[in-house]
Amino acid sequence: MKALLGFLKPHWAPALLAAVVALVGTALALVQPMLIRWVVDSAIPQHDSRLLVIAALLVVAVSATRGLFTYLQFFLMEYVAQKVTFDLRNRLYQHIQKLSFGFFDSTRVGELMSRLTSDVDLINRFVGFAMIQVGMVLALFLGTISVMFRLDSALTIASLCVLPVLLFTAGKFGRTVGPAFLAVQQQMARLTSKLQENLAGIRVVRSFAQEGREIEAFRAENYDYRDKNIAAMRAVSFYQGAMNFVVAVSAVIVLWYGGSRVMQGKLSLGSLIAFNSYVLQLMMPIRMVGFLVNMVQRARAATSRVLELLAVQPEIKDAPDAVELPQVRGHIVFEHVSFGYDPSRPVLKDIDLEVLPGQKVAILGTTGSGKTSLVQLIPRFYDVTSGRLLIDGYDVRKVKLESLRKQIALVSQETFLFSTTIRENIAYGKPDATEEEITEAAKAAQIHDFIMSLPSKYNTVIGERGIGLSGGQRQRVAIARALLCKAPIVILDEFTSHVDTQTEAEIQKATAKLLERSTSFIIAQRLSTVKSADVILVMEDGRIVERGTHEELMRLRGKYASIYKLQLVEGE
C-alpha cells in the first residue's frame, strides 16, 4: 500500500487538487434534495411563483457548477494515473533492459509482458479510479448522513439499519464476482493458447491425423469457458438483485416510517421527499464497495509483483571501477574457466585456451557439449563461475559492458530479426552505416540478390507485419547484420544450419574476406566449414578434448579424424 502511494508522490499536487475538487463536487450533490424540500415545504405553501423560479434557477446552477467540478476531477485523476503509468512502464522497461541473459533464460516473455501491461493497468485503475472513488464514497456517506440527521434522526437510524446488510452483500459481491471474472479471463487465456498452439502446429496436427483429438480438447476448454461465463453472470445478477432489494427495503422504511411521522406531524412532506432522495443517493455508491475492495486488492498484488521485478538485480553489470575497453586486437585467453547456468551443474570445466589476434577458431562437438556456452562468455552474456577470461589482457569483468560488446559481432543459433525494414535489420548494430556498407554486407551474406528481387528491395518490411522469410533467409540477414559491424571479434554460432550447401560455400568464401582481420569463432556441424580454421577445438562434456589444425587432428586419429572419416567414407 505504501509503495502504491509512493508511485503517486511525484504527482502529489494534481492528485491533491483532484481530491479537493472531488470533495467539493460531492458536497454539491447534497444540495439538490434540500432545494426540492424547500420548494415543497416553503415555496408551494406560500403560493409564490417567484420562489419557484429561483429554485429552478438554483437547480440548474448547482448542476452546472457540479458538472464543472466533475469534469475537472475526471481529468485530473486520469492525468495523474497516466503519469504514474508512464513513469512505471518506463522504469520497468529500463530495468528489464539491464537484466542479464540468465534472467531471460528463465523468464517467459509473456510473464514480463503482463508485468508491464496488465499489472501496470491495475495500478493505473487504482490511482485513476478506485482511490478517488473510495474517498468520494466516504465523503458522500458522511455528508449525507449528517444532513439526514439534521432532518430527522429517528428516521435516519431506521432507514440506515439495512446498511450492514448492504455492506455485507456488496462485500460478498466483490469477493464472488471478482474471482468469477478472473476465472473467465484465465479460461480465455487457456483457450487462446490452445488455439495458438493448434494454428502454429497445424502441419504436425495434420501429419499425425490428430484433428479429431484436438477438436475434442478444444471443445472441453470452449464449453468450460462458456460455463465459467454463465457462472459469473449468475453471480452478478444474483448479488446485484440482492443489493437492489436491500436498497428498496430502505426506501420502504422511509416511505412507511417516514410517512407515519409526517402523519404525526413530526416531519414535513418536503423532508420526506428529500429523505427519499438521500437514501437512494447514498445507497448507490455503497453498492460499489465490493468492487472497489476487489480492485484495491488486485492493485496491491500487482504492485508487489512489479516491485519484485524491480528488485531483481542484474547478475552482470559494470563493476564500479570498470574501465573503457580500448580498441582491441582480439587476443583472447581463457584461464581455467569453469561455468554452469546452475553452478552445481557445470557445463564448462576448466577450459584453458589462448586465441591470437586474427585467428580463426572452429568448434565442434556433440549437442550439449558446451560450444555455445563457451562463446557466450566472451561478450560476457554470462559470468564465469571460476577462472577468468581475458581480452587483450583485460579481464572482461573489469571493463565496461558497452565497450566490450561493441567490439564483438555475433550470429546466434536462433535468429531473431525485428519487424522493420531489411535495411534497418542489417544496420542494427551500426545505425549510421552507409548504403555501400549495407550492400557489401548483404552481398557477403549471399542475401543481396534475394533482397533486390523483393518489391521494395531493402525497404521491404519483414516479420509479423511484412513478409515472412525462410529460416535460411533469416540466417543470412543475421549474418549480414553481424558482418556490417566490422568488429575485431566475430562469433558465428551454427550460422548456416538452414542454408543449402552451395549457398553456404559462397557465404564462406565471401565472409572469409571480411573476417580476415578479425578473431573469429565458428561453431559448425559441417566439416567443410571447419577444415580451413587455424585452430579446431573438439568439445565433449564441457571440456576441450582435441585441439589443433585439420592436419594435426587427422594425424591424431582421435574423435575428429573418426567423424571426418565417417562423413567422407560414407560416400566412397
Partner: protein
C-alpha cells in the same frame, strides 16, 4: 532467387470498422439464427421475465407518489402500510425476475456462442492448407477470440438490454402521461435532447477509445518484440535506442488516454445538466400546478425522480448500437472464414500400405502463374530410401506437401501402391506417412505427451525404444524429470537439435510404412546425426523413406537420389552414378568436400 515455401506475401485486407450501420450487411446476421434455434425456448422465457423485471424496476417513484397523495396527506395509516408492503413485494419480484432473466439469457447466449466458436475451430482445423498459409496466425486467432467475443457481447447482453431499455422508457412515459399530461410533456422533452447529446459524445468517445486501443496495441507489439529480442538488443548495445522508442510509444498512449478522458469527462456533467434542466422545468411548472391545484405533491415528487431515469436506458441503447456495429463486422469476418474451403473430405479408407510411391508428371503452383513444380516424375519402390537434393526453393518441400495431401497437384498424379492418393481419405493417407519437418513444432506439455502425439496409447517401453533409436533417450533421461519434463511454449528449454530428435522419435512411434525426413537433422551435430542415421537404417526395415538434406553425407547411402532444380528433376541415380555423370550433383559434392 526463389522463395523457400508458400505464402510469402501474406495478410489480407481486414474489413474496417464502420461508423454507421450498413444495411447490406444485415443478411449475414441471418446466419446466426440457426445457432439460436436450439435455445429458443429459453430465450422466449427470458423475454417474459424481462418484462416483469423492467416494469417492477420503474414502479418505485410511482408508489411513493401515490402513497403521499392518497395515504400520507389524508392520514390513512393502513393504506400506507399496504403501499409499503406492495413496494416490498414488487421489489422482491423484480429481484427474482431479473435473476432468472439474466441466468436464462446468459445460458442461451453463451451456449450459442460456444457452439459458434466450436464450429469455427473445427472449420479452421480442417481448413485447406492454402488458406492457412495465406492467413496470418494472428488474424485467424482474432476471429476465434475477439470477433466471437464481440458477437457474444451483443448476443448475450445486448439484445435483452435493448428490450429492457425500451420497456423501461415506454413504461415511464405511459406512467407519466397517466399522472399529468403537461408535466409529462416537459419530462419527455428531455429524451430527444439526451439522445442527441449521447449520440454525439458517444461517437467522439468511440473514436477516442479507438485511438487508445490502437496505441495500447502498439505498446504491446513493441514490448512483445523487444522483450523477445532483448538478447539481440543487448548484444548490439542498442538499449538506449529501444528505450527511447519505447518512451515515445508509451507517451503516445498517455496522450491518447488524456484526449479520450477529455471527451469522456464532458459526458456525465452534460447528462447531469440536461437532467437538471428537466428538473428545473418540473419545479417551475409542477410547482405552479400544485399552487393552482392541478396536481398533488406526491405526483410532483414522482415526476422529479422519473425525469432522471431516462438517461441510463438511452445511454445503454447508444452503447449497444456501437457494439452492434462492431459485431456486424465480426459476424462478417467469422462467416467469411467459414466460407473458405476445407481440405477435401471423404475418400476411400486404406489399411497399411506397402509404400510404393509414384509421381507421374506432377505440376503444381501455390499461386497461378508461378509454377513451383513442373512435370515431376519419380518412382520410389516400396522399402527404398530416396534422397531429394537441391538448392533452397527448388521445390523439395512442395513435393512433400503434395505427398501428404496438404496441397493437390494441378496436373499429373501421385499414387501409393498404385492407388491415386486423391482418392484416399486424408486421414488414412497420413496415418501411413510419418513426417519430420524442418521446423518442428513441439506442443506445450511433457516430453512424453509430445512423443506420444500420434499414438496416445503407446506404452512407456515403446516410447523409450523409439526415443533410443532417434538418439533422444540420452538427453531426455538427463532432463530433471526425464520423460515427464515439461517443455514450454514453442518447446522452450530444449535446443533446436533436441526438438528435431523429439520430432523424429514422434514420427517413428506411429510406425509408418513411409517416412519423410525434411531436413530433419540439420541442427544436430554430425556425430549424433550419424548415430541417428545408423539407427534409422535399422528401424527402416522395409519402410519407404524420402529424405531431404543439405548435407550430402546424409544422402550418399540412398538407393536413389533425385536432384531437384527450379521445380524439375534434373538428375537421378545413385551417388556413384551421379558423381560419374559430372553434373549438378557432382558440383554440389565438390563444394562440400573439395
Amino acid at each position: 532467387m526463389m522463395f523457400g515455401g508458400p505464402g510469402h506475401f501474406r495478410g489480407r485486407a481486414l474489413i474496417p470498422e464502420p461508423t454507421k450501420l450498413d444495411r447490406s450487411n444485415l443478411p449475414v446476421l441471418k446466419r446466426l439464427l440457426p445457432y439460436a434455434k436450439p435455445y429458443q425456448g429459453k430465450l422466449l422465457l427470458s423475454v417474459a421475465f424481462l418484462l416483469g423485471a423492467s416494469l417492477g424496476g420503474v414502479s418505485g417513484p410511482f408508489i411513493l407518489g401515490f402513497a403521499i397523495d392518497r395515504f400520507i396527506r389524508s392520514g390513512n395509516a393502513r393504506g400506507l402500510a399496504l403501499a409499503g408492503i406492495a413496494y416490498l413485494l414488487v421489489s422482491a419480484l423484480t429481484w427474482v425476475f431479473s435473476y432468472l432473466q439474466t441466468y436464462l439469457t446468459s445460458q442461451a447466449g453463451h451456449s450459442m456462442i460456444a457452439d459458434l466458436r466450436q464450429d469455427l475451430f473445427e472449420h479452421i482445423e480442417r481448413l485447406a492448407m492454402k488458406v492457412l498459409d495465406e492467413e496470418e496466425t494472428g488474424a485467424l486467432m482474432s476471429r476465434v477470440t475477439s470477433d466471437i467475443d464481440s458477437i457474444s457481447q451483443v448476443v448475450s447482453m445486448g439484445i435483452t438490454s435493448v428490450l429492457s431499455d425500451i420497456v423501461v422508457i415506454v413504461g415511464i412515459v405511459v406512467l407519466l402521461f397517466t399522472m399529468n399530461v403537461k408535466l409529462a410533456m416537459i419530462s419527455v422533452a428531455v429524451v430527444p435532447l439526451l439522445a442527441i447529446v449521447t449520440a454525439l459524445l458517444q461517437g467522439r468517445m468511440q473514436t477516442a477509445f479507438h485511438k487508445v486501443r490502437r496505441t495500447v496495441a502498439e505498446v504491446n507489439a513493441n514490448l512483445e518484440e523487444t522483450l523477445s529480442g532483448m538478447k539481440v538488443i543487448q548484444s548490439f548495445n542498442r538499449e538506449e535506442d529501444s528505450m527511447s522508442r519505447f518512451q515515445e510509444i508509451n507517451a503516445s498512449t498517455v496522450q491518447a488516454n488524456l484526449q479520450a478522458v477529455r471527451t469522456f469527462a464532458v459526458f456525465f456533467p452534460a447528462v447531469d445538466l440536461i437532467g437538471a434542466l428537466a428538473t428545473a422545468g418540473i419545479v417551475l411548472v409542477g410547482g405552479n400546478s400544485i399552487i393552482h391545484g392541478e396536481i398533488e405533491v406526491g405526483a410532483f415528487a414522482a415526476f422529479l425522480s422519473y425525469v432522471t431515469r431516462f438517461f441510463m436506458p438511452i445511454r445503454e441503447i447508444s452503447q449497444i448500437y456501437n457494439m452492434l456495429l462492431a459485431a456486424m463486422v465480426s459476424v462478417q469476418r467469422v462467416f467469411q472464414l467459414m466460407d473458405e474451403p476445407r481440405e477435401r473430405p471423404g475418400g476411400i479408407e486404406i489399411g497399411r500400405v506397402k509404400g510404393h510411391v509414384r509421381f507421374e508428371n506432377v505440376s503444381f503452383a501455390y499461386e497461378e502463374g508461378h509454377p513451383v513444380l513442373s512435370g515431376i516424375s519419380m518412382d520410389i519402390p516400396a522399402g527404398q530410401m530416396v534422397a531429394l537434393v537441391g538448392p533452397t526453393g527448388a521445390g523439395k518441400t512442395s513435393i512433400i506437401n503434395l505427398l501428404t495431401g496438404m496441397y493437390q497437384p494441378d496436373s499429373g498424379k501421385i499414387t501409393i501402391d498404385g492407388t491415386d492418393i486423391s482418392r484416399i481419405s486424408l486421414e488414412s493417407l497420413r496415418r501411413n506417412i510419418g513426417v519430420v519437418l524442418q521446423d518442428n513444432f513441439v506442443f506445450a506439455g511433457t516430453i512424453m505427451d509430445n512423443l506420444r502425439y500420434g499414438r496416445p496409447d503407446a506404452s512407456l517401453a515403446e516410447v523409450q525404444k523409439v526415443a533410443e533409436a532417434a538418439g533422444a533417450d540420452q538427453f531426455i533421461s538427463r532432463m530433471p524429470d526425464g520423460y515427464m519434463t515439461l517443455i514450454g511454449e514453442r518447446g522452450a528449454g530444449i535446443s533446436v537439435g533436441q526438438k528435431q530428435l523429439i520430432a523424429l522419435a514422434r514420427a517413428l512411434l506411429i510406425d509408418p510404412p513411409i517416412l519423410v525426413l525434411d531436413e530433419a537433422t540439420s541442427n544436430v551435430d554430425p556425430y549424433t546425426e550419424l548415430l541417428i542415421q545408423q539407427a534409422i537404417e535399422k528401424l527402416l526395415g522395409g519402410r519407404t523413406a524420402i529424405v531431404i538434406a543439405h548435407r550430402l553425407s546424409t544422402v550418399q547411402r540412398a538407393n536413389n537420389i533425385f536432384v531437384i532444380q527450379e521445380g524439375r528433376v534434373v538428375e537421378s541415380g545413385t551417388h556413384e552414378q551421379l558423381l560419374a555423370l559430372g553434373g549438378a550433383y557432382r558440383s554440389l559434392y565438390e563444394k562440400q568436400f573439395g
